[in-house]
Amino acid sequence: MNYLTTTLVLLGLIALAFTLGRRRAPVRDATWVKTASHASPGYYGAYVALWCGLPCLILFLAWIALAPTVIDSLIVGTLPEQITAGKSSSELSLVKSQIHSLAAGQAFGEPDPALSEAAARYTEFEQVSRMALFVVILSLAILTTLFARSHIRQHFRARVYVERITTGILIACSTVAIVTTIGIVVSLLFESSRFFAAVPVHEFLFGLNWEPQIPIREGQVAATGAFGAIPVFVGTFVVSTVAMTISVPLGLMAAIYMSEYASRDFRKAAKPVLEILAGIPTIVYGFFAVLTIAPWMTEMGAKLGIGVAPNSAIAAGFVMGIMITPFISSLSDDALTAVPNSLRDGAAALGATQAETIRQVLLPAALPGIMGGVLLAVSRAIGETMIVVMAAGIAANLTLNPLEPVTTVTVQIVTLLIGDSSFDNPKTLAAFALGLVLFIMTLGINIVALQITRKYREKYE
């Protein structure tokens, strides 16, 4: 009895409920105005179908989400003492995954008989759970269908009820955004608090040494790990600064040309090209940085007698700047276009050239919008991951020199979490602390940016 069968049976039941409700709808005979069937028959069907489907769907999802956890804890409870005694939660999760792979038929070597027994029990429990779900869903669907069907009478206002339920569904869907935000905040806070239980907050925020290794065996020398994130923050700052130095002038000048100088045809041709630049996935930019830009920069550096590291901040920042340019140019373009023409005409009437008009009239007027765009771009640069993962360094390096390799917050999150899913050492949890910092920083910048743009918009509308 697998989930697919259950789903199909449930769908069948919903269809059945729909027809049952529809046939139960009050008949519209010659006197139907008097006997007043309130809605068309479909609404009666929908009413019963919703009653049949919704509770089952919720139960189904909750069951799928919670069953593995429940089964795991049941299995661990039945394990003999000598396996569970004195084990930390990570060792227990290792045991659990061993049982899972045994149950899936992947045995490596000669498994512990107690474990194979547990695996057999696991398979059995899973089957029982699926069977139980099927039976529960089936009976719940039948009960609710009969219940809903018994409601339908001559003056039953089916449409009102159906619309009330759909409104509820609509509201639930629109709150998903809030639930997501809450989920992000709660999960980041929860895992970070576990990290800060092991590493003090001030050490994390102000420490100058970032070496996130953990001792693999007891009493290992020189690998206790240091979690001072300042070098990581500085690295993020250096890369973002390089990116912004490239993208702000480029994006702004491109926007000025597009909105003030370019002919319509040029605009029509150039705008999509810039949009393509914005639509390229960041992993492509990352590979481009490694493949073309970084070797080119090293070569240029060698010619000029400057040592440029192959994974220098400047190569990653340069490519990131190219990536962000269309973002800044389109937001600045919007801001410039929103400046009313009366300002342009006024400046022209005073004899100003176009460049003077732009520099002294339009840019100050569009400044809030441009600033908002630049801030959004900064938050993008800070949160950008793939370019720096591929093109920047991994080792933390406390320097402001963009020619040296540095590491960033996002690079550290990825390197700390790739291939490691055990959740109770500071190394893994540090990634969540970094994620929390990243989230707070980008959220703060975004809110300020949106605030600035919103204020500006009110000015001319």
Partner: protein
């Protein structure tokens, strides 16, 4: 402007009128050059950006196109009936048949280490390919067949010219002896370059010559399906509610701010969310397209909601009024009239959102979709890679053949993105209505 200048000339202040006029002309010229310079800066910025795009595309094509051809080596394989049990053809020693055929071409080479170097010219999986072919076509047993095998990475690189044979032998990955053998094979007409179908039909492998994208493409397809199934209805429902029914109050303001903020949250944070909630808390399987699709759905949702609201807002109120006037309820107006008219706009936004999701890498890395998986996934719960994570894996692989494969994979990914965005643009052009 010129009339303005002239009028200034007539009444301009200054000691000597001629002197003042000359000064004015100079200043005017200076200002005009400044204007021209400023204009050129703008043009240069655009040209630079477009030039970078061109450099990117050209360098990808230059490094990627060799991966679309694959060198094949033709060998005459003898399959003696005495050594293959027709009842259980998979048990025979195909490695021996294969090596006999290969070494038979170079009778002068006797020493085992040298012979191993010969074997390195053909992919290491050759004997399994031979076995699978014979198992599929048992009638081959007892005859000698001319079969083409995938060449190894080094021979492939040499054949397409990626390895310079003029280099000193310690600076290239193929030895002088191997080059001599290659020349002999070419002279015998046994080497041929064909279109690399394996790139599109195979899954990942440690050996670049037989590594393909099909596993990643199916993985991406499953993840995008999950993403679409979750985010499309939810996004429409949220957009309809916010645009048509929601009262203007603090709660809906909060929802709106939230949606705008979520659209700007770094993608890696969504990865952390997926890792902590979907994998760690709910215990969903690692590397599964289901989880990848769920994370991508959360990221795509704001895009769809924002596009959906814009499309719904663009439907003129007169249509709503007309429907209300003939007795439709508010919901009937929304479902029967507003939404169908807004649908092209919503679909366009959805396709653009899905295209973004297709290129998204960082969150998929965190939920483990960068695993090494040599089979295409059979469902949304089986471990899989996606196109962008496959690119990441290949970009990280040291073998030389993976450099061009990575570029080729990127070209395939960009091809899909161009296709999706092209459909979106076409839909916008085809169904756009001006009211």
């Amino acid at each position: 402007m010129s009339s303005l200048d002239q009028s200034l000339k007539v009444s301009g202040p200054g000691a000597a009128p001629d002197d003042a006029a000359a000064q004015r002309d100079r200043r005017s010229r200076r200002r005009k050059t400044a204007n021209l310079r400023f204009k050129l800066y703008g043009l240069a910025a655009i040209v630079f950006a477009v030039g970078m795009l061109a450099t990117l595309v050209v360098s990808l094509i230059m490094t990627g196109y060799p991966a679309f051809t694959q060198t094949m080596v033709r060998l005459d394989i003898e399959l003696p009936a005495s050594e293959i049990d027709a009842a259980a053809p998979s048990d025979a020693n195909y490695g021996k048949f294969f090596r006999d055929a290969l070494y038979g071409l170079f009778p002068e080479v006797k020493s085992p280490p040298q012979r191993r170097n010969i074997a390195r010219l053909v992919t290491q999986d050759a004997e399994y390919m031979l076995r699978d072919t014979v198992v599929a076509y048992p009638s081959m047993i007892g005859k000698t067949h001319s079969i083409e095998f995938t060449a190894s990475d080094i021979l492939n690189q040499l054949h397409i010219g990626a390895i310079d044979r003029e280099l000193p032998s310690d600076r290239r990955s193929i030895s002088d002896a191997q080059i001599a053998w290659y020349d002999k094979l070419v002279a015998q007409g046994r080497i041929r370059a064909v279109f690399n179908t394996a790139l599109f039909t195979e899954a990942d492998s440690r050996h670049p010559e037989i590594a393909g994208l099909w596993g990643a493409i199916t993985g991406s397809f499953y993840a995008l399906m999950v993403c679409f199934i979750l985010s499309f209805p939810m996004g429409i429902a949220a957009a309809v509610y916010l645009e048509e029914f929601a009262p203007k109050n603090r709660w809906t303001d909060l929802i709106e701010i939230n949606i705008n903020n979520l659209a700007a949250v770094p993608s890696i944070v969504f990865g952390l969310l997926g890792l902590a909630v979907f994998l760690n808390f709910f215990g969903l399987p690692r590397s599964a397209p289901l989880v990848g699709g769920m994370v991508l759905a959360l990221m795509t949702l704001p895009t769809i909601i924002i596009a959906g609201r814009a499309a719904i807002k663009a439907v003129p109120p007169s249509i709503r009024d007309a429907a209300l006037g003939v007795g439709a309820s508010a919901q009937q107006v929304a479902w029967h009239h507003t939404l169908p008219l807004a649908m092209p706009g919503i679909l366009t936004g959805t396709i653009i959102g899905l295209a973004q999701a297709l290129g998204e890498t960082a969150p998929l890395l965190l939920i483990g979709m960068n695993a090494f998986i040599t089979q295409q996934p059979g469902g949304i719960l089986e471990p899989a890679t996606a196109l962008p994570t496959q690119i990441y894996i290949w970009a990280d692989s040291p073998e030389r053949g993976f450099v061009s494969r990575t570029s080729a994979a990127i070209l395939v990914l960009l091809g899909f993105l161009v296709l999706m965005n092209g459909v979106a643009v076409w839909m916008r052009k085809r169904f756009e209505r001006r009211w």
